[in-house]
Every structure is written in C-alpha cells, then in structure tokens.
Subunit: 196 residues, 2 copies
DNA sequence: CGAATGACAGATTTCAATATCTGTCATTCC
DNA sequence: GGAATGACAGATATTGAAATCTGTCATTCG
C-alpha cells in the first residue's frame, strides 16, 4: 500500500518531482526531497536521471507536452475551415496558458523559471507549436482562404505576434480587464493579413 | 571646478544616479553612493527626491522619454506616406531598443529591472508610444491606405503584436541570426492586415 | 545479477551576527 | 532664511561558519 512497495519508475519519479516543485518551488526543490517523497534513497533517483538538471528537464518537457497534445487535435479538425481552425488554435493556446497560470500560480511560476533555464527544451516546444500552426496556415493556403508565399514563415510570424497571449513573461497581464478584446484585435488583424 | 562647487540640481542628481546605476547595478546602487559621487551628503539628495523609489522612478522616466522623443519625429514626417511611416516607426523602435541593449548591456539590464518595479511609469510610456502609433494609423485611415474602424485599437494591436521586437523580456533574442527577417515578416503581416 | 543503499568529497545554501542603508530632523553654515 | 549636514532609529544587505545538497561508488540486498 505505501508507494515504497511499488516499482520505482521514471514516471513515478516525475510525478513526485512535480509535487515537490509545487510544494517547495524551483529554488528549494532538491533531489533529496524527491527521494524522501518516494521513500527511497536519493541514489535511486540518480539511477533514472543522470543529474538534477536532467530531472528538471524531463519534468518540464512533460509539462510542455501536455499543452502541445491538447492543441494537436485542433490542427486536424476537418469540420472547421482553416481560418476558424487558426482562431480556435490560438484561442486554445491562450486559454491553456491562462488556466495554467491562474489555477496554480505557484506551479506556473515554478515552470516559468525552469523553462528559462532550459533553452533547448523550449526551442523544441516552440518548434512543435509553430509546426502545428504551419499545417493550419498551409491548409488555408490550399483552400485559398489565405494568400501567403511561405506558410512556415507566416506561421512563425503569427506565433511571435501573439506572444503577449502565450509567453509566460506576460502572465501577470492575462487577468487584466480587456485582455480578451486585445486578443481578438490582434488575431483579427493577423487573419486579415493572412487573407492578403 | 570640482562638481562640489556647482549648484546641486535634480538633473545633476539624475546624471550621477545613472552613472552609479551603470557601475553598481540596480540591486547595489544606493542613495549614499549617489551622494558620494556628487560629493554631498545623502541628506541633500533627499531634498530633491522624497524617497529612493522616487529617484529611481525619475531616472527611469528620463531614460524612457529619450526613446519616445526620438520616435516622435517620425510620426510627423510628412514626406513619407503613412504605411512607410508606420514601418519606419516600428523599425526605429526596434533599432533604438536593440542598440540600448547591445551597446551597454549592464545599463540595459539595470533599467529592465527598474522598469519591472515601476508599473505606473511604464504604463505611461506605453500609452505615449501607442498614442504616437495611433496618429500614424489614423493618418493612414484618412488617406485610405489603411482600412480600420478604430485606429487606437488597431495601434494597440500593432504595438502588442510587435512586442517581441521592443519588449525587454526578449532582449536576449535580438542578436540571434534571422531576427531581422522575423521582424519584417511580422510587420508585413500587420501592414497587410491594416490595409484590409 | 541487477536494483537499491548510504557514506563520502566537494559545491551550494542557510542563518545569524555584523555592517550598511534609508529616511528624518535638529543643528550648522553661508 | 534657505540649503546642506550628519547623527540617529529602524529596515535591509553582507558575510562567513555551519548545514545541506549533488553526484559517485563500493557495498548490501533480494
């Protein structure tokens, strides 16, 4: 019944790590804490993750991937035209980030710190997201809804132009009044630009 | 001849403050340091600025205003059409920020920290900048170059959508390869959107 | 035999004492 | 008399010794 009796897997370590991060924050969360939470020695944790940095990286990647997976469904939603899919996707990204930031601010702040120290993981995540966006823009180009010469470049521009609504450095402004109108204004402007 | 012989003015205190900030950084710069640099007692500094926070605010406002003033000239450049003026203005804003960040990274980092703790000053500065943008967008609406219903809202959207190229939180990416192409891609997309 | 342990060295963090700073104001100086 | 000073109380920052953590590895355990 105690977790001690179960087999120690990487996944269980990641779960415990997230819990420790939520409790202690990024600065004070230690590998020893994680081991304590699992009822094992810290040496056992090092069997699954070579360094503390690797553990932090893995748990952050896991967290970012949860968002990517949610959005992936919108890319292939054939029941909506590309323009609507683009709007849905951007709105879903904004909503996902805003909920993460609003529901558990401690954990969000924690991951924001982690994300800053993990350049590679973030670049990969952003490449993943702009890849999804590219597929939507390309679909719109094919149907004639959008008129762009380079869907990938356009997707990158759209992603960067909406940074205010998904980049953690703006998180504190996501609760301000009127932010939804601002979001709509930016997205409308971008969609008009894509239509050419 | 020594600065001690000159009259102690708010401006001289602000100059000394900027120098102290450049040398010591935002965390270690003290009012005593400023007074020492001027060869006066720290009590004299408090005659001109009620608190340390007020001094930091004044020096930051001065720094931000230097950028606003440079850009104001572009708003009224009658020899260029509104679309070109918009492109010029955004490029000038990006160039100004990028140079500030590149030429004196220490001081830029310092002011970035100050800006973060001074919500009011920044809001005012942003209102100033979006006000300038609004005048350009409104001019374009009058000539028919742009088709927007609310120039102020459109200006705000353009400002927010270009955040990646003027918000200090992205400063570290302004030296990356390809950032100029990214800037052009975003501005092109926005201009197309304004043309409707 | 492979998984887990815990003692260990060196690096990092904590904590409490010590020093410095902020902001005030009675006094000095010109 | 108005500007400047410097002593002062309370708040904040620095410092270095002690505690904790990271990462390794010889040993134990099942």
């Amino acid at each position: 019944m105690p977790p001690t009796s179960e087999i120690l897997t990487a996944e269980r370590i990641l779960e415990a790590t997230e819990e420790v991060l939520r409790r202690h924050g990024p600065a004070k969360a230690t590998v020893v804490d994680v081991a304590r939470a699992l009822g094992v020695s810290h040496g056992s944790v090092y069997r699954h993750f070579r360094t503390k940095a690797a553990l932090r990286e893995a748990v952050t990647k896991r967290w970012l991937d949860r968002t990517s997976e949610r959005l992936a469904g919108i890319v292939t939603a054939e029941d909506r035209d590309p323009e609507q899919r683009l709007r849905d996707w951007l709105a879903a990204l904004f909503a996902a980030k805003r909920h993460k930031a609003g529901d558990d601010p401690e954990l969000f702040a924690t991951y924001t710190v982690l994300v800053e120290e993990l350049g590679g993981v973030v670049r990969e995540h952003i490449a993943d997201l702009t890849g999804q966006l590219t597929r939507i823009v390309a679909a719109g180009t094919e149907t004639g809804a959008f008129r762009v010469t380079d869907p990938a470049a356009a997707a990158r521009a759209v992603f960067q132009a909406t940074g205010r609504f998904h980049d953690p450095c703006y998180a504190r402004e996501w609760t301000a009044a009127g932010v939804d109108e601002e979001f709509t204004a930016v997205v409308d402007l971008l969609v008009r630009g894509l239509r050419g």
